[in-house]
């Protein structure tokens, strides 16, 4: 009798343990519902920022400045749009749709190149990758400093901290719920500690693991929208000569992790985005390609009628894909069929920046 009771108790304990393990494994997936509101697309071009209304796909505002913009991002609360030129950052208010500030970093004797930047999750700081070249007056000599990661306090407009970083990084991503770390993408994908300045490799590109090939990544545009799923996708390719394969580097800004999704077909694309429902990757360069985000299989592709594009964005409901603006236009595609719906003409050429905010 005692043996039977003991055996029953052990079975119960085992069952409880197994059930709790299963529960731990099956963590509820965080579902992202599209933010309620109206879509606006911010498109910096030569000497102006176009704001496009996603409901009518027309330009509703053009804000002039005198510069060429190489990148941009919204603050996590969606209230500001930061667009970086080579030597400065322009700040736009998204509710007033106005240029409200300009952070100029270069002087005659100190040229600061803004390589890439990100906005902290509390909307209070910018993390800027900068390259600084100093020259002495009347002396034909340059002093090239090591690259710096600068923490720029937005309220006081002062540098709060700076770190010397060992080599080239371009994209910078704050990690949600982890204000002490950033993700940097350069020769490899790294986690950077804002407390100690230490760098930890979390995924390899240039320094592959044993048996893997060197990967070249194209971190063209940071396709981030406030309130999105928090996953940034970049394309990469690996191999030599004709023996080349491609894939997608997926950076999870929620967890501070990165993983690779090998593509079943060879695609060379410059800019990529994960659809709001996380089912598809849209990649662009000479084509618009729709990839299954689970398997890496090509679902559909079309050649871009207006030529090369380096920016891509989706509507918040995922029904439309916006491609542009390397030339003076943006093409709007139906995401289901990749059918061209509309071409929006712009005043000038753009580059790698086109971002959506839903207000």
């Amino acid at each position: 009798m005692r043996r039977t009771t003991l055996a029953l108790m052990m079975v119960c304990v085992l069952l409880v343990a197994v059930t709790s393990c299963e529960q731990k494994e099956k963590e509820p997936e965080v579902t992202i519902s599209p933010p309620a509101g109206k879509d606006y697309f911010y498109v910096p071009i030569n000497n102006a920022l176009h704001i496009i209304d996603g409901a009518t796909d027309t330009i509703v505002k053009t804000i002039p400045y005198n510069d060429y913009i190489i990148g941009g991002t919204f603050s996590p609360d969606g209230r500001r749009y930061y667009a970086n030129a080579l030597h400065s950052i322009y700040v736009f208010d998204t509710t007033k749709q106005e240029l409200v500030d300009t952070y100029r970093f270069s002087t005659e004797l100190s040229k600061v190149l803004v390589g890439g930047f990100g906005v902290s999750e509390d909307n209070r700081s910018l993390y800027i990758i900068s390259f600084i070249v100093k020259k002495k007056q009347n002396v034909p000599r340059l002093n090239v400093l090591p690259p710096q990661l600068v923490v720029f306090d937005i309220e006081s407009k002062k540098i709060a901290k700076s770190f010397e970083i060992p080599y080239y990084f371009k994209p910078v991503f704050p990690i949600k719920n982890d204000p002490d770390h950033l993700i940097l993408v350069g020769y490899d994908v790294c986690k950077f500690s804002l407390k100690t300045g230490k760098i930890e490799v979390i995924e390899t590109l240039f320094n592959p693991k044993k048996g893997e090939k060197v990967r070249n990544c194209l971190p063209g545009m940071d396709a981030i929208s406030p309130g999105d799923h928090g996953i940034v996708v970049y394309s990469y390719y690996e191999g030599e000569g004709i023996n080349v394969s491609s894939g997608f580097l997926m950076i999870d800004r929620n967890k501070g992790q990165a993983r690779l999704l090998p593509s079943k077909d060879l695609w060379l694309s410059e800019t990529t985005i994960l659809s709001p429902d996380k089912k598809y990757v849209y990649a662009v360069m000479d084509e618009l390609i729709k990839i299954d985000a689970e398997t890496g299989k090509t679902v559909n592709f079309v050649q871009l009628e207006n030529g090369t594009c380096k920016g891509v964005a989706t509507s918040s409901d995922g029904k439309k894909v916006y491609v542009g603006p390397s030339g003076p236009d943006i093409s709007v595609y139906e995401s289901e069929t990749l059918k061209l719906i509309k071409v929006i003409p712009l005043e000038g050429d753009g580059g790698y920046a086109m971002h959506r905010v839903t207000l």
Binding site: Y68, R141, P146, P147, V185, G307, K310, G327, G348
Partner: protein
Amino acid sequence: MKTKKLRPVNKRAKMLEAREVFGMAENIDVMTGMPVGCTTIFDTGWETNPRPTSPTSNCVPSARDFASCSGPCWWPAQTPDGITNFPGFQNQCRAVERDWKNLNFIIKR
């Protein structure tokens, strides 16, 4: 870039090495520390375009690459150097397909 094999042999070379012109710490490698533009490594395989389908053959910069490649870029001869020498090139040419005739970034007028 300094290497262990390169040593200054005369007074002038020693002076040069001591000056700020080399301005970097010993552990900074100029070749691997340089900005590389739109890719994480400089890899010429990128230009050979191994795709079996259209568009085939080597990549060449098109008009639509003009503005976006004016930063730290692969096409330094074909596009204006917007970082140092031609920072305001976009004032001459907002859209290259339309305004290319206004460009004078090769010879400063």
